[in-house]
Amino acid sequence: MSTTSTLRPRAETAEPPPKRIGFGGRLSRWDLKLSPYLYISPFFILFFVTGLFPLVYTGWVAVHDWDLIMGQGEFVGAKNFTDVLGGRDFWKALGNTFSIFVLSSVPQVIAAITIAALLDANLRAKTFWRMGVLLPYVVAPVAVSLIFSNLFADKYGLINSLIGLVGIDPIAWHGERLPSHIAIATMVNFRWTGYNALIFLAAMQAIPRDLYEQASIDGAGKIRQFFSVTVPMLRPTIIFIVITSTIGGLQIFDEARLYDQFGRGGADGQWQTLTILLYEQGWTQSNFGRASATAVLLFLIIVVIGVINYLIIRLISTPEVKR
């Protein structure tokens, strides 16, 4: 046994090596170099097919006269962009989008963090309450919109009837611009506040409890603890939620589209958001070129907002680094 085993390696190192490198060795070298790329390739293949290609193609469509059914027409350069930017619809939709976004995101984050703080306290039937806040999230947006558009109906809606009882004039929830934004933001908040609260709650649970102990030994009350311990520790989570709700807010579609029976954002575009405008141009007016131009502009706006977000985050996170 021992002689054969000493002989074998010698034989192997003496002659077969070139063959080996040619076969297993080269394969294993490829393996080392290529495998990692293959492992991550599904993401990139997916990204190229479903993400990058449509993105680039949208840009291509945006510089052509493009009909939904007839397809590609002539090259028109920047005409679609000047049409979109020159019309009153785009600017109005942009204003509406931001107005609804601010009206929904700001109260949402504040409410979510407050609810999370309450859920983080020592409650009875904790799981019940925690699941409870998620309930609105699992209700289909269509159902939410149906219920809310009845609540916010102008003439015979529940809210106008209620405020009528205390002598307030009915509010034109569909007719006027700001009330319609408030109504839509209410739907968005109803749906997303609980979801965000749960994310905050998860982050709060990760805060070491001894920090609170120390704080209460130092004589800090519950409210002081919340602002001096909880909120600073939540900073990364707050940043995450602000970014996700920004992107979601700029793309708001469902709630606004289902707010009335036509889904076009009101007779005067009172609550027409950028995505509804895009849909209207593409599917109703059949003008894909113009819709693509709007999509490209929306993309640029989101990029700009993303950069602003990034700068603000850097600003917020500097004190932490200094410390």
Binding site: I69, A153, Y156, G157, H174, G175, D260, Q261, F262, A267
Partner: protein, 434 residues
């Protein structure tokens, strides 16, 4: 050898994933195309035909009947909630060249739009169906080179629905013949009677300016686009006159209940007795009956301001992309047969467009219990005979009319604009369409 195997596994996994994704894409297509899963047209083979409609066509029982007549055919009914949504869906599937149902219903207001793409539809011209419809109904669906795009289903001859109880309270006649005599005349006369009514009642005269507009514009022979396709909507004095007339009546004379048609408020308005009359094409009877459930006093008068008027009516088309064009055409032929159209009328009140059906005893004898047993068959046959022409609707009719409806809503429902500023916005909207 182990690393090698891993490499192969990874490669295989990647390929498999890519393939399965591609397969998913294909699968989704097939799912929406429903008929693809049956393998061929060969006789006796099971095939599934999809029929896409919207609102109420009254086809539920008919489709079951067709299945029982043909052992190898299963019919699937896809129903959109509004005509607008059906239009968007059809545009989409024509654009993608897949996903359309075997039979797609098209509303007359957007038929012209789809007539621009005759290649996307099967030619349904067939000696077997010649002379079946009123001429104007067939002409509207025939291209210049004689290709027939769709088979006519229903029409929308209009009468006036009214609340006899509210009429009585306001001291107006309640009998449907007397009401017909009272309202006989042009639109101005209809509005004048409304002023008398409103002075003596809490309710408004009509539901919304939008609905009334539909009746008025459908009596204009050339409204928004001339024969050459030129958009004249913003310069046509006839359009502007009607616009001013309807808004003066609605807002200045307070005849309108200001309820945006099809809105939640509009539906509630039926229960709140907020208006006394409305324009009623045949298919509207089912809508009223649904929204005004439990309200008594609705009746229908054999009269329409300004003569006859048609609102709506549809066609069944067969998109050329389907796998079972022949079978679909056979089903469409059967569904639009006068005999079947009478059954649809009995089911949902959709008024037939077939010449033969108009003489049907069943149709003439039919009454509607909800509308105080009104002889609706007789009334709507009269109203259909009062229609003398079909207005010319250009390819942009739908978009322009939508913009005009928005203009009316801003003044009548939202109150955010007056007639003049709202008109300016309408002009801007139409110019932006280009």
């Amino acid at each position: 050898m182990q690393p090698t195997r891993r490499t192969i596994t990874a490669a295989v996994a990647t390929t498999a994933l890519t393939l399965s994704l591609a397969a998913c894409g294909g699968g989704a297509d097939e799912g929406s195309n429903d008929d693809n899963d049956s393998s061929g047209e060969a006789g006796g083979e099971q095939i599934t035909l999809t029929v896409a409609t919207f609102n109420e066509f009254g086809y539920e029982e008919l489709l079951t009947e067709y299945e029982s007549l043909h052992d190898n055919i299963t019919v699937e009914h896809v129903k959109a909630d509004t005509a607008d949504n059906a239009r968007d869906a059809l545009r989409n599937s024509l654009g993608a060249d897949s996903g359309a149902a075997d039979i797609e219903a098209i509303e007359i207001d957007w038929l012209v739009e789809f007539m621009q793409y005759p290649d996307k539809f099967a030619d349904l011209a067939d000696p077997a169906v010649e002379g079946r419809w009123q001429d104007w109904k067939v002409d509207a669906a025939t291209t210049e080179d004689g290709k027939l795009i769709g088979y006519g289903t229903d029409n929308g001859p209009q009468a006036i629905c009214y609340r006899a109880d509210l009429f009585e309270e306001a001291g107006l006649p309640t009998d449907r013949d007397e009401v017909a005599a009272l309202l006989e005349g042009d639109w101005q006369h209809y509005f004048d009677v409304g002023k008398d009514f409103v002075a003596a009642s809490d309710a408004a005269w009509f539901d919304s300016a939008n609905a009334t507009w539909q009746g008025m514009i459908n009596q204009v022979e050339v409204a928004y686009q001339d024969e050459s396709g030129e958009i004249i909507a913003t310069t046509n004095p006839e359009v502007k006159e009607l616009y001013d007339a309807v808004l003066t009546a609605a807002v200045d004379d307070e005849l309108s209940a200001g309820l945006g048609q099809w809105s939640a408020d509009w539906n509630d308005g039926f229960q709140q007795s907020s208006f006394a009359t409305m324009l009623c094409p045949g298919w509207m009877l089912g809508v009223v009956e649904g929204a005004a459930e439990g309200v008594e006093g609705w009746d229908v008068a054999n009269v329409f301001p300004g003569g006859g008027g048609n609102w709506g009516g549809s066609y069944l088309t067969v998109p050329a992309q389907g796998d079972h064009v022949e079978e679909a055409q056979a089903l469409a032929t059967w569904l639009t047969d006068p005999e079947q159209q009478i059954k649809a009328f009995e089911a949902k009140g959709t008024f037939p467009s077939q010449v033969e059906a108009l003489e049907s005893e069943t149709l003439l004898a039919s009454t509607n219990a909800f509308f105080n047993d009104a002889p609706t068959g007789e009334i709507f046959v009269d109203r259909a005979n009062a229609i003398t022409f079909q207005p010319h609707k250009g390819p942009d009719y739908f978009s322009i009319n939508t913009a005009l409806q928005d203009a009316l809503t801003r003044v009548d429902v939202d109150g955010t604009d007056d007639a003049a500023t709202s008109w300016d916005k309408f002009v801007a909207d139409v110019e932006a369409l280009g």
